[in-house]
């Protein structure tokens, strides 16, 4: 697995933060809430490391996930994971539903789908800008499962698959709510991404 230099990571982090920032803007507009989305750190893993990392952090809990497949110069899946607790907080803040509201389940899927979609769209927009190339997208899907099962779909075939893990903090200032969402990029043509980053950094290839 090719690793990224500190400069490359920095650049990638900046690009993703721009995308996430744009997503926050849309969320703010939609919900009249000052939402701050920030990715303090991006890490690169293979699947075993990623599973280990997420298990350490979240045990074997359930996650709500929005997944988007993309293809083009580089292909993969962008996945946004909401730990259960963060998901409830976000939904109740954004929709005004109390976390124990009987209708929350009905509300949940739609709400998380859209929020996940907005965040992923922001990040994908940033990345396709970076690559200056158009990507083709699959229809976003919503899933609920354990980390283990969610990552299973990645284990077929692509041994060289690289995971970019971006733990994102969301802060809603006036409500003093802080939470986690996790952005995972499963990239099967990592080289294309690294080349694009190098171009951006002015490193001759």
């Amino acid at each position: 697995m090719r690793s990224l230099s500190a400069d490359q990571l920095d650049a990638l982090q900046e690009f993703i933060n721009i995308g996430v920032g744009r997503a926050a803007g849309i969320l703010n507009e939609m919900t009249d809430c000052r939402i701050l989305l920030k990715i303090p750190l991006i890490e690169v893993f293979d699947i075993a490391q990623l599973q280990q990392k997420l298990k350490e952090r979240f045990n074997s809990g359930y996650f709500s996930t929005v997944r988007l497949g993309f293809a083009g110069q580089f292909s993969g899946t962008a996945e946004l994971l909401f730990p259960t607790e963060s998901a409830s907080t976000l939904i109740s803040v954004l929709t005004g539903e109390a976390p124990d509201s009987p209708d929350l389940d009905a509300v949940k899927i739609g709400t998380l789908s859209e929020i996940g979609n907005i965040v992923i769209n922001g990040v994908m927009g940033s990345i396709s800008n970076l690559l200056s190339q158009h990507l083709r997208y699959a229809i976003p899907i919503y899933l609920e499962d354990t980390i283990q099962n969610l990552l299973l779909h990645n284990q077929r075939g692509h041994n060289a698959t690289v995971f970019l893990l971006a733990q994102t903090r969301f802060e809603i200032k006036q409500l003093k709510v802080i939470g986690d969402i996790i952005l995972i990029f499963e990239v099967s043509s990592f080289d294309a991404l690294i080349e694009a980053i190098d171009r951006e950094l002015g490193v001759p290839s």
Partner: protein, 555 residues
């Protein structure tokens, strides 16, 4: 315009397939012109294709012009990532009214589709109707919540049942302890007396101890039987017209000694006249005795007990106040609970099962009355207030002052010949001893057969028979006796350990005049025999009025 018309026509061909699927579909150009409008949307919105095609969607649904939508659609028109509009944030992107009111709940996904020419992108809206799904999910959720609530309810009920069982187990533990306690001195002294090693001076003390403890145990058993009858709803009242002041007097006499021993002052305030009430004299005396003896029990030496009896409109009210140890406010709600004692250490220190008040309240309620308790707090005394309803009709009849005590010194059975039938030798011996002590002539029979023989031989004045005997029991005996013409009207008293009311009815129906529960109070037994033989309890002194009855006129 020509471009527009061509584009519209080619769009109809390009997207014709979307008419065949159960989603609402429409295709927008970057200028918001509607290029395609599928038949599903026609049906949902009631807007036909020909009305909307080629026109801006904002003419029909103005919110498409709002910045939120403009920004996100802009991304699509540039070939960006598919965008989701959830029903939660966007209620109804393209409102589709439902016949029953409201709009369909929609989930919309917008994807970018490359336009046939140039590098433009169209926006394809795919609208999923999730109305039924949402309703169903809510229905299932309600069912689930209900099931959870029901199982929670069952769990709670089970816990309550288990708790009640625990209370009963604890109660049983206390019962067996309390029943055993009086047995120790009884057995101990009985063995010592048999050994002949007791000095004559100590004999009286030993006998007094045995008697006291036997009485205590009899009381415990009575209480337990009462509780069991109350719990099984089998407690029946022998309704009579009574004056509560007699009941109070009688009860007072029974606690008199105990009160004197503790130097308690008891003050009785009766506001005559006291209206007559309907009730079971024995049971009401039990109620008053219980309240009084509690007051005596829980009031320290030199304390004061005040009894107020008056008539208030439709009720007779009895208040018993003491300067005793009172009741902590948190225990007041449980004072009358069955199987629920106050602090068990206190119960032990004072003795008894703590069943009295529970029985008392049940008895009062059976009489249609109320029993309330008030206490300012621990060590500040307590006041029990008993109220019993006055029956509406006015009458004048004999009012029984139940259980009026009789001075045993002046009772006599002289001239009475008693035939005692009991299979238990000890009981026979005891009865012979007792009755002879009051001057009666006593003949003993160990079985019903012996009794019939003796009967014909000695012609007694009264038959005193046990009920439970082997071979021929007391019921069969009395039936046989009544078949003999000369003994058709012979007074007969049944003595039995089965104190239930059903037995009482059976006993009287079988032919006995009276039924006395074992262990019988010797004085009561003698009084009963005297009443049966002489018509009333005959006393040695003629100046004494006969106890038990008095004439009372009631308005």
């Amino acid at each position: 315009m020509t471009r527009s018309t061509d584009e519209l026509q080619s769009a109809q061909a390009q997207f014709a397939l979307l008419d065949q699927i159960p989603l609402g579909n429409c295709v927008l150009r970057a200028d918001y012109a509607v290029l395609f409008w599928n038949s599903c949307l026609e049906e949902w919105t009631k807007i036909p294709k020909q009305d909307i095609l080629g026109k801006s969607i904002t003419e029909f649904f103005s919110h498409f012009g709002q910045p939120t939508y403009v920004h996100r659609f802009q991304q699509i028109f540039q070939g960006g990532v598919p965008t989701i509009f959830s029903s939660q944030f966007h209620k109804h992107l393209i409102p589709a009214p439902l016949p029953q009111g409201g709009n369909r709940i929609q989930h919309t996904t917008v994807t970018a589709i490359a336009a046939p020419e140039g590098d433009e992108f169209y926006a394809l809206l795919s609208i999923q109707d999730v109305t039924d799904l949402t309703t169903q999910a809510q229905g299932y959720r309600k069912m689930r919540d209900q099931a959870i609530a029901e199982s929670e309810e069952r769990r709670r009920a089970q816990e309550e049942a288990e708790a009640a069982n625990r209370v009963k187990d604890e109660f049983l533990a206390v019962v067996s302890h309390e029943l055993r306690t009086p047995l120790n001195p009884i057995l101990g002294w009985a063995r010592l007396l048999q050994s002949g090693k007791v000095s004559p001076a100590a004999v009286n003390n030993a006998l007094a101890t045995i008697e006291r403890n036997a009485q205590l145990q009899a009381q415990l058993i009575d209480d337990l039987l009462d509780v069991s009858r109350i719990l099984s709803g089998k407690l029946h009242l022998d309704w009579q017209t009574i004056n509560l002041s007699f009941v109070v007097h009688a009860a007072l006499e029974t606690v008199h000694l105990a009160a004197e021993a503790k130097s308690l002052s008891i003050q009785l305030h009766i506001e005559e006249p006291i209206a007559a009430i309907k009730g079971d004299p024995t049971r009401l005396q039990q109620v008053v005795w219980n309240l009084l003896s509690n007051a005596v029990k829980f009031t320290p030496e030199n304390g004061r007990i005040e009894i107020y009896l008056d008539t208030t409109g439709v009720e007779v009210q009895l208040r018993i106040s003491d300067t005793g140890k009172g009741i902590p406010s948190d225990f007041i709600p449980y004072v009358f609970d069955s199987f629920r004692q106050a602090d068990s250490t206190t119960t032990r220190a004072i003795g008894g099962l703590g069943l009295g008040l529970s029985i008392t309240r049940h008895l009062v309620e059976l009489h249609g009355g109320t029993l309330k308790v008030a206490s300012p707090g621990e060590n500040q005394g307590s006041t029990f207030t008993l109220r019993l309803p006055i029956p509406k009709e006015a009458y004048s009849e004999v009012v029984i002052a139940s259980g009026a005590s009789v001075d045993s010194d002046i009772l006599t059975l002289e001239g009475a010949h008693v035939l005692v039938v009991d299979d238990d030798t000890d009981t026979r011996t005891f009865l012979a001893f007792l009755l002879q002590g009051y001057g009666a002539e006593v003949t003993l029979a160990a079985s019903a057969v012996d009794a019939i023989v003796a009967l014909k031989h000695i012609h007694p004045d009264i038959l005193l028979s046990d009920l439970g005997m082997p071979d021929v029991d007391g019921y069969m005996l009395i039936q046989q006796v009544r078949l003999l013409p000369e003994f058709e009207h012979l007074p007969a008293i049944a003595l039995t350990a089965y104190a239930a009311e059903t037995t009482q009815q059976q006993v009287l129906a079988a032919g006995f005049q009276k039924h006395i529960a074992k262990p019988a109070d010797p004085t009561m037994l003698v009084v009963a025999i005297a009443e049966q033989v002489f018509g009333s309890s005959r006393m040695r002194s003629d100046t004494r009025q006969s106890a038990g009855f008095c004439q009372e006129s009631v308005a």
